[in-house]
């Protein structure tokens, strides 16, 4: 796949950080287009599938008989299928696409060994397909976020081997002298994922740990999939997009560095608060609560770093869709982390545990933060990789406002509805009838479904727009203007 013929004078040599010439940006973008577009297209396809499944799941909560005649569309299967499609189909594919593009650009080398990535893309998506089909056939595993059957995981891990080899090669043979923040996060995430995924599959499916340890491993994985896999990829995108669009450096190197290490250290412990109230040793839950609280430190630092970079440049949000989506995500990241820390305490969990609040909070992190950041990355890299401009600003606007209002409505409905549900369940004197409490959640669940419907509209606009972009003829001028390298920051460096 390597496209070195485009630049015969810049044939790759070992980037020993002194002699090698960095490759031109436009040729890097051009060289990596096939794998990035493959992953991005798969991600968007899964996003549409996931939105439909998610909507079905949401409808089933308030209209119990909806599509109830098909066994494979019962709630117990559609809900885990939604989670799997969303986590491994959309989020992970999107993270791969954005991550590889940023990695290739910052390593300033033409794509080498692109076949590895293309093979990985094929295997990964076959793996997700097998996982979803297995779940719909009833072959599932009762662990949130890890519902896929045991025979799907090896395909995903195989795909990951190709990805890991490529990433390490790209980083080792980079022609840039310094590793930028985004590269730290991408590399860390790529090392974390196979570790947490492999350990979790081993200890819950292949050689299940006995008793409560299985649940501990399950929640450790589910939380870390969000905290150590998706969040670093999202942060890598935000750390890249904000300075690139604004032409300002990251506000502080020290903040970025402190945020990176403290986040990786604290976040990996935080998942244990999900076991609150369960039959696990008290210190495990307490450690999770304490870690959730300490995660606020890196979150504060990361948020501060982004906010200080944005300061005085908020007008750019109106003109740059990439930045608008990414900044929405970054703000949601700070907000959901604060909420997660506050709701991890036992006294709060007493009310919110096992209510719809949990789902609302999950989508807050997964959609309002990660997915929005990924949309930002897509709006930024797709035109550059394809060498074309987005054909319609209306579609972008439709997508942004649908996604933003849809997710705000969904999260609001699930969180408030869940809070009311939890308070009523804790008050048996006033609400002796459990069915009445369930009935009281219905308006909130309908509101959440409405949010899901609005999201689907936005996703349809996004998918349509991406298809349109893909089918457009390449315009040479646009390609040039997209990848030119302004000098505005050269001064800042001195």
């Amino acid at each position: 796949m390597s496209d070195s013929s485009a630049n015969p004078d810049k044939i790759q040599k070992r980037g020993d950080s002194s002699g090698a010439e960095p490759a031109a940006l436009s040729s890097i973008d051009h060289s990596i287009r096939v794998p990035v577009v493959l992953f991005a297209a798969a991600a968007i396809a899964w996003l549409l599938v996931g939105s439909v499944f998610g909507l079905i799941t949401s409808f089933k909560l308030h209209t119990a008989g909806f599509l109830g005649n098909w066994e494979w569309l019962t709630y117990g299967r559609v809900r885990p299928a939604t989670t799997t499609v969303f986590l491994y189909g959309w989020a992970t594919n999107a993270g791969f696409a954005a991550g590889f593009w940023i990695m290739a650009r910052l390593s300033r080398n033409l794509l080498q060994n692109g076949t590895l990535l293309n093979t990985a893309a094929v295997f990964w998506n076959i793996g997700v397909l097998v996982a979803v089909a297995g779940i719909l056939l009833g072959d599932l595993n009762a662990r949130e976020g890890l519902e896929m059957p045991g025979y799907a995981a090896p395909i995903l891990l195989l795909a990951f081997v190709f990805i890991a080899v490529w990433t390490v090669l790209t980083f080792c043979y980079r022609r840039s002298r310094h590793a930028y923040v985004s590269q730290w996060y991408i590399l860390a995430a790529l090392f974390w994922f196979p570790a947490i995924f492999g350990i979790a599959m081993l200890m819950t499916v292949y050689a299940p740990a006995r008793g409560i340890l299985q649940s501990v491993v399950g929640w450790w994985y589910t939380h870390n999939l969000y905290a150590l896999w998706l969040t670093p990829l999202g942060l890598a995108a935000v750390y890249y997009i904000i300075p690139k669009v604004l032409g300002k450096p990251v506000h502080s190197y020290y903040l970025a560095s402190a945020g990176f290490w403290s986040y990786l250290f604290f976040a990996s412990w935080a998942g244990m608060h999900h076991l609150s109230g369960g039959p696990v040793p008290a210190w495990i839950v307490s450690t999770g609560v304490t870690a959730s609280l300490l995660v606020l430190f890196p979150v504060f630092i990361i948020g501060l770093n982004h906010h200080l970079a944005m300061k005085g440049n908020f007008a750019v949000l109106r003109t740059s869709p990439g930045l608008r989506f990414a900044y929405f995500g970054a703000v949601a990241f700070t907000a959901v982390s604060v909420v997660a820390a506050l709701t991890s305490f036992r006294s709060v969990k007493e009310v919110l545990h096992f209510t719809h609040f949990t789902d609302g909070q999950m989508q807050w992190g997964l959609y309002a933060w990660f997915t929005m950041a990924m949309f930002g990355a897509f709006y930024y890299f797709l035109p550059r990789v394809l060498g074309r401009e987005w054909p319609s600003s209306t579609l972008i606007r439709v997508h942004f406002w649908s996604s933003a209002s849809g997710i705000v409505l969904y999260v609001f409905a699930m969180c408030i509805g869940g809070w009311i549900q939890g308070s009523q369940m804790n008050n048996p004197e006033a609400y002796p009838d459990f069915v009445e409490i369930v009935r009281n959640t219905l308006p909130w669940l309908v509101m959440a479904s409405l949010g899901g419907l609005i999201l689907l509209v936005g996703h349809a606009a996004f998918a349509l727009h991406c298809l349109w972009l893909l089918l457009l003829p390449k315009t040479a001028e646009a390609g040039a203007s997209l990848t030119s390298e302004p000098e505005s920051m050269k001064l800042a460096a001195k």
Partner: protein, 220 residues
């Protein structure tokens, strides 16, 4: 589509993200920041102190939380408000004394005195409608703690057997089983408390089985 201007985003909102910084400059600035020592004093002199303060507050709160709810990292502490093995020796729990007595009765007494306390005529005396059970607690406790042998008369019938001592049962279990037989099957006598059993146990000490005559003084 081609009149795109990077520095002055036009009214056609949302077409394209301007790229205001090159990757090279991004990394160079980053590297420069990494090597620059005086960064902290620039613009935000108060910031590092605030961050350290923030971190200290978080650590303090986290530490207090772990001290209060961490269960001293003991793997046997499942409830952060209680000590290890709290579920086994839970003093706060309300105990249904009659239910407990029923279980003790099933394990220790039922084989001879039968499920309804009716006994077996000629072999084992009944426990219902007899003064031996519903009458003096002093006598009843002594019988259970130390056993009974020799001829006795219950509800007009003569028995001459041996009842083994049950002193190995705890005070709580003896009290429970006696309350059970005094209050179930239509019997309606006062309960026997743990303290009463304990008092008699320490007063008598260890001895062999009683006879009906020896128990005469304790009838009232």
């Amino acid at each position: 589509m081609t009149d795109h201007n990077q520095n002055k985003p036009g009214p056609r909102e949302g077409r394209l993200d301007p790229e205001a910084a090159s990757d090279e400059s991004l990394q160079d600035v980053h590297a420069a920041l990494a090597h620059r020592k005086d960064e902290v004093s620039e613009g935000f002199p108060i910031m590092p102190i605030m961050i350290v303060l923030f971190f200290s507050v978080l650590m303090l709160v986290g530490g207090i939380y772990m001290a209060n709810y961490g269960g001293r990292f003991d793997p046997l502490v499942y409830d952060e408000r209680k000590g290890p093995m709290a579920a086994v020796a839970d003093e706060d729990e309300e105990i249904d004394i009659v239910a407990l007595g029923g279980q003790v009765y099933q394990r220790n007494c039922q084989a001879c005195h039968q499920a309804e306390g009716q006994g077996i005529p000629g072999a084992f005396p009944p426990l219902v409608e007899t003064d031996w059970v519903t009458g003096s607690k002093d006598r009843l406790v002594r019988v259970v703690l130390h056993g009974l042998q020799g001829p006795i008369e219950v509800r007009g019938e003569q028995y001459d057997g041996v009842m083994q001592p049950f002193g190995h049962l705890s005070d709580q279990h003896v009290a429970a089983v006696l309350t059970y037989i005094r209050q179930d099957w239509g019997n309606d006598a006062s309960e026997v408390t743990e303290e009463e059993v304990a008092a008699i146990r320490s007063e008598v000490g260890s001895r062999g089985a009683w006879t009906a005559e020896e128990l005469e003084p304790y009838v009232d």
